[in-house]
């Protein structure tokens, strides 16, 4: 049973959602400890259940958590694959530096000893 969205994550949403330390904490907690319901997360967060729910809905929008309703309770699981845009972005910096290394070699070849 899966509630996974097949839509690719919008990178900006991933970055925005993880820019908030409380949301980052909730996400890390789910990564570390597996599936949790809102009440369990609230006990750990030290903020209201409404605030936790709002954070969870932002994370869900960004494709970083998925939810599984069960009766009157909703369980949340981290969607680690949702971090892919972050990895792609860091890869862009790698491309930037490789390009700069190429240019540097060109400069060295033309420099006097």
């Amino acid at each position: 049973m899966s509630y996974q969205s097949n839509l690719p994550n919008a990178p900006n949403e991933v970055f925005r959602s993880l820019a908030d330390p409380t949301r980052r904490g909730i996400f890390e907690h789910l990564v570390r400890d597996g599936e949790q319901n809102v009440r369990a997360l609230t006990e750990r967060a030290g903020i209201s259940q409404a605030a936790v729910s709002k954070h969870l809905s932002v994370l869900k929008q960004a494709g970083l958590v998925r939810d599984r309703p069960e009766g009157r309770t909703v369980h949340y699981t981290a969607e680690v694959q949702g971090l892919a845009p972050l990895v792609d972005w860091i890869g862009l910096y790698g491309a930037f530096w490789r390009d700069r290394f190429d240019r540097l070699e060109g400069v060295l070849d033309r420099m006097e000893p």
């Binding site: 980052r24 972005w89 862009l92 910096y93 491309a95 240019r103 060295l108 000893p113």
Partner: protein, 150 residues
């Protein structure tokens, strides 16, 4: 609940160069040479020196990288802060470390850019476009007459 971010990421690029360490060091630290391969700016290899590198502005990024020299060990190691601004109030804060290791034929040059964390990412959008523009400029640079002599 504010757990620290696990594992700040870093990028490492290494390359063997057929040039002596002194020459590679000059290319890494001479303002005029730096402008030919990295970005134009007012770099000086002096600990504590603050510098600004400027690329052409693009939407969402003013093209400015601010830096501060942290370590200067001539022909061996160079470390500076690498911060972008103008894209978001919370810009990118990283550290760039160059290491030169002598080899029989020249030098192994290693660049590590460290400190990528999720909270460093708000300027993602501008950065993407900026970095993409940098690729493929090599040929144009190599055809500049008289560039790099000295």
């Amino acid at each position: 609940m504010t757990a620290p971010v696990a594992g700040a990421r870093s990028i490492v690029v290494e390359r063997y160069l057929d040039h002596p360490p002194e020459k590679v060091w000059r290319a890494l630290t001479d303002e005029r040479l730096l402008g030919q391969w990295l970005m134009p700016g007012d770099f000086r290899p002096v600990v504590g020196h603050r510098f600004t590198l400027r690329a052409d502005p693009v939407p969402h990024w003013n093209g400015v990288t601010e830096g501060e020299v942290l370590v200067v060990e001539p022909c061996r190691r160079l470390v500076y802060r690498w911060n972008t601004s103008g894209a978001a109030a919370d810009g990118l804060r990283t550290v760039v470390t160059w290491t030169l290791t002598p080899t029989p034929g020249g030098v192994l040059l290693r660049m590590e850019q460290s400190g990528f964390r999720p909270q460093d990412q708000p300027n993602f959008h501008g950065a993407t476009r900026a970095w993409q523009r940098f690729t493929g400029n090599l040929e144009r640079l190599l055809t500049v007459p008289g560039g790099g002599a000295g």
